[in-house]
């Protein structure tokens, strides 16, 4: 009977040293499974059946490390791939590519019994405190299950440890024999904590552990998690969508968008000196609980693109308010700003067709950009305007013209930008603290 903490770990990692190194990690999902999967109809060919697999790029080429004893916050909006990343890290999902170096061993390479044994060192806490506890088991059994799976202690020892842990997480050990349904949400989350701690792990992935809880209960659970981290020397990957919670609990923070990490820095640095436009947009959007600071505003336009076919280069470029001007044209900043706005308005069709003159007035203050860019814009305006420049008759079906204008603008401008042609990855000098500040934005080139 040996505690898993000292089994098989020869190279002990010192506090502050990287415990986990993730390199080029990718997780793609096939859209559906089954005999006819991958079959889809495509009327543009004959026979109208397409056998190509569409793959959802949930996590696409991610690099980072987690240091022993720290809490790395992972924040992003729904669908950005943060939960998938957490689960892939734990090998609950099979990585498509990449390595997960945990204390010198690659988790991505492990499988079967070897992986199962390794699970005593890495644990997970789930978002839904109710769904993550088997309703038919008693909380004592639930807490003991991982110990049993790893052959830790004997029956009596397990019970003692379970009771000890229940007390540690702030529950009454006398409730050992109760079913989860007798507990409130916050208490159930504490049972989850006790279960995760039972095998004395080093690393815990916390997937939105407090987002299902009320504010006042959130604080209780967060405090307990911090106390446990100190006491047991735990390392957390804390996944959340709530920036306030992230700011409170993390040491360093990674921001995810559409399968990529766009920024990673020390907490203070990230919140006080955000360098990626997406991080800024996120921070600007959070409502601050102070009526004297009413600045939460929807700074972002449009919607997150599909992860099946994400934008090239920087994934945020299709919504970025600071999309970099393509270099092959000569612009002033103002001209580019106008063109960018116009391009996106055409793409999203947010306006009614109007005469060309009105377009110029509304989007360009009357003056089109000079040179080649201006000509392209003029062409695009002609396509969508109600009075086509070539003097031909009024058109009735404008659908194709919209498409054409859209393609013209995107092709000439959006896809010419460095944001579309190169994937950004830069290290910046931090203003707060000394740690590195990673920002995936070409503004820092």
């Amino acid at each position: 009977m040996s505690s898993p903490a000292d089994s098989g770990t020869t190279d002990d990692v010192g506090r502050g040293e990287p415990l986990i190194r993730v390199r080029n990690l990718k997780k793609y999902f096939n859209q559906e499974s089954g005999l006819l999967s991958g079959l889809s109809f495509d009327s543009s060919q004959f026979p109208p059946i397409d056998v190509g697999q569409q793959r959802v790029k949930a996590v696409d080429d991610v690099d980072f490390e987690i240091r022993r004893g720290e809490t790395l916050g992972l924040v992003g909006e729904s669908g950005c791939g943060k939960s998938t990343l957490g689960r892939t890290l734990l090998r609950l999902l099979e990585p498509t590519e990449g390595t997960i170096d945990f204390k010198g061993q690659d988790l991505a390479e492990m499988s079967g019994e070897e992986l199962r044994q390794k699970r005593s060192e890495i644990q997970m806490i789930f978002q839904d405190p109710q769904a993550s506890l088997d309703p038919r088991m008693k909380i004592g059994q639930i807490v003991e299950e991982p110990m049993r799976a790893h052959g830790m202690l004997d029956d009596e020892g397990r019970e003692q440890r379970a009771k000890m842990l229940l007390e540690k997480v702030g529950l009454d050990p006398h409730h050992y024999n109760r079913h989860p349904h007798a507990f409130s949400g916050g208490q159930r989350q504490r049972v989850n904590l006790a279960r995760a701690l039972s095998v004395d792990p080093e690393f815990i992935v916390c997937d939105e552990p407090v987002s299902a809880l009320d504010v006042s209960i959130q604080a209780q659970v967060l405090n307990t998690m911090e106390e446990l981290q100190d006491e047991f020397g735990l390392t957390y990957l804390f996944i959340a969508h709530d920036l306030s919670v992230i700011r409170h609990i993390s040491d360093r923070v990674a921001v995810m968008y559409l399968g990529n990490i766009v920024e990673l820095a020390d907490k203070e640095e990230l919140f006080e000196n955000p360098q990626h436009p997406y991080t800024r947009a996120l921070l600007d959007s959070i409502p601050v609980p102070d009526p004297r600071e009413r600045d939460a505003r929807g700074v972002l336009e449009g919607e997150v693109p599909s992860p099946i076919d994400p934008p090239s280069g920087c994934r945020f470029r299709t919504r970025c308010p600071r999309l970099i001007a393509p270099e092959r044209y000569e612009w002033t900043d103002e001209e580019w700003a106008h063109t960018r706005t116009f391009m996106r308005a055409v793409k999203r069709r947010t306006f009614e067709p109007m005469p060309a003159g009105e377009f110029r007035q509304e989007f360009f203050g009357g003056d089109l950009p000079r040179g080649e860019a201006g000509e392209i814009v003029a062409d695009a305006i002609d396509l969508v305007a109600t009075d086509p420049g070539d003097g031909s008759e009024e058109r009735d079906d404008d659908h194709d013209d919209w498409e054409e204008a859209r393609e013209l603008l995107l092709e000439s401008f959006a896809r010419e930008s460095i944001c579309a042609t190169e994937r950004p990855a830069y290290e910046i000098q931090p203003e707060y603290g000394t740690d590195t500040h990673f920002a995936a934005c070409h503004l820092h080139r």
Binding site: A182, N223, H248, S285, D290, E303
Partner: protein
């Protein structure tokens, strides 16, 4: 404050009659909504805020029932009881009939926006069709005009390409877009009051920002009043003019938003604010509220917050405080239901503090005595 309020709620009580007993979900709340303001109704889950807001339209579902109080909208009685000749309560003469509430109030005068944009739209009808139906029903417009109006409203709430999207089905819209459709529905009926029940809770933070932005703009343009039901103090600070804080079926503090945050008068509100992590600054240690909210089936005696209150004294166990004016700001009263204020004068200062029972942070299981 001088003019007659748009909506006046007095001592509203809504109860659910279940097998386990009577749940006093809303237990005697009073508040007002004036023209053109956004009034917040804030509280944690179980506070009774959603039931309260649905009671305003008399849309409480079985086995719930409004059992007391008065709801007056522009001089009309949406709900009101009086004592009959035998002392029993009966509906007042001037209380609107079910048909009148349905035809004249719901949609026409008071519209709602629900929390869950995924479930609130009917999956088998087009977005435009649903919007048009509500417009036709609540405004004097022909089918064609209603359609034009529906498209105009879709554009107004920022839905790209509204003509095409009019013909699409809800599942083709993202969550944020669906919430915009619900806002369009509410505004298109040209009501004077919109009840927004957690309208941004299900949304991502950037989308939430977009929606708050939109509501702010549209509210300014149309002058509609809002009751904004939420659990998020951040959203309250962002958008509300005046706020009612609810705890266990009661309003425990009501104040203009700035006073509520910067001159907090009720220990619960204060505790709630202290327990929140903040996005704008790093908080060293959070101060959680002890214990959990008790069930509305058997609320604690005296002040309902006293078992969790850091300021609780012996008197709090005995005296049940109604909200009283403890300060004034901008011509609005600042009410709090806490006996520590002088306005109550029940001997709080002399009363001995309650012994803090040694307890584990999480308390006993919610099931009380277990199985």
């Amino acid at each position: 404050m001088s003019s007659e309020p748009l909506l006046r709620v007095e001592n509203l009580k809504t109860q659910f009659f279940t097998d386990a007993g009577t749940v006093r979900a809303v237990d005697g709340i009073s508040f007002e909504v004036h023209e053109g303001e956004i009034v917040g109704l804030v509280g944690e889950s179980g506070a009774g805020k959603s039931v309260a807001s649905m009671s305003l339209l008399r849309l409480v579902e079985h086995p719930g029932e409004i059992v007391g109080g008065e709801i007056t909208y522009r001089g009309e009685t949406i709900f009101g009881l009086e004592e009959g000749p035998d002392g029993e309560l009966r509906e007042r003469e001037d209380m609107l009939s079910n048909e009148a509430v349905r035809d004249r109030i719901r949609g026409n005068e008071i519209a709602v926006i629900f929390q869950d944009p995924m479930e609130s739209l009917n999956p088998v009808f087009t977005v435009g069709g649903q919007l048009r139906e509500f417009i036709e029903l609540n405004r004097d417009l022909s089918g064609k005009e209603a359609r034009a109006e529906a498209i105009r409203m879709l554009r107004e709430v920022g839905i790209p390409d509204p003509e095409e999207r009019y013909e699409e089905y809800p599942h083709q819209f993202s969550g944020g877009m669906r919430q915009r459709v619900l806002i369009a529905m509410a505004l298109a009926c040209e009501p004077s009051l919109i009840i927004a029940d957690e309208p941004t809770t299900a949304l991502d933070v950037t989308v939430e920002g977009q929606i708050i932005d939109l509501v702010d703009d549209l509210q300014e343009k149309y002058g509609t009043s809002f009751i904004w039901v939420t659990h998020d103090m951040g959203v309250v600070a962002e958008i509300c003019d005046r706020v009612n804080v609810m705890y266990l079926g009661e309003v425990i503090e009501q104040a203009p938003v700035d006073e509520l945050f910067h001159d907090t008068k009720h220990p619960y509100t204060q505790a709630l604010l202290n327990s929140m992590p903040r996005p704008d600054r790093t908080v060293g240690e959070l101060e959680p509220i002890e214990g959990v909210m008790p069930e509305a089936i058997s609320p604690p005696s005296g002040c309902r917050f006293h078992p969790r209150c850091p300021d609780a004294r012996e008197v709090c166990q005995r005296v049940h405080p109604e909200p009283k004016e403890v300060a004034r700001a901008d011509g609005y009263p600042h009410n709090a239901a806490c006996v520590k204020h002088d306005a109550f004068d029940v001997g709080y200062d002399e009363s001995p503090p309650l012994e803090a029972e040694p307890r584990l942070t999480a308390g006993t299981p919610g099931g009380e005595d277990g199985e």
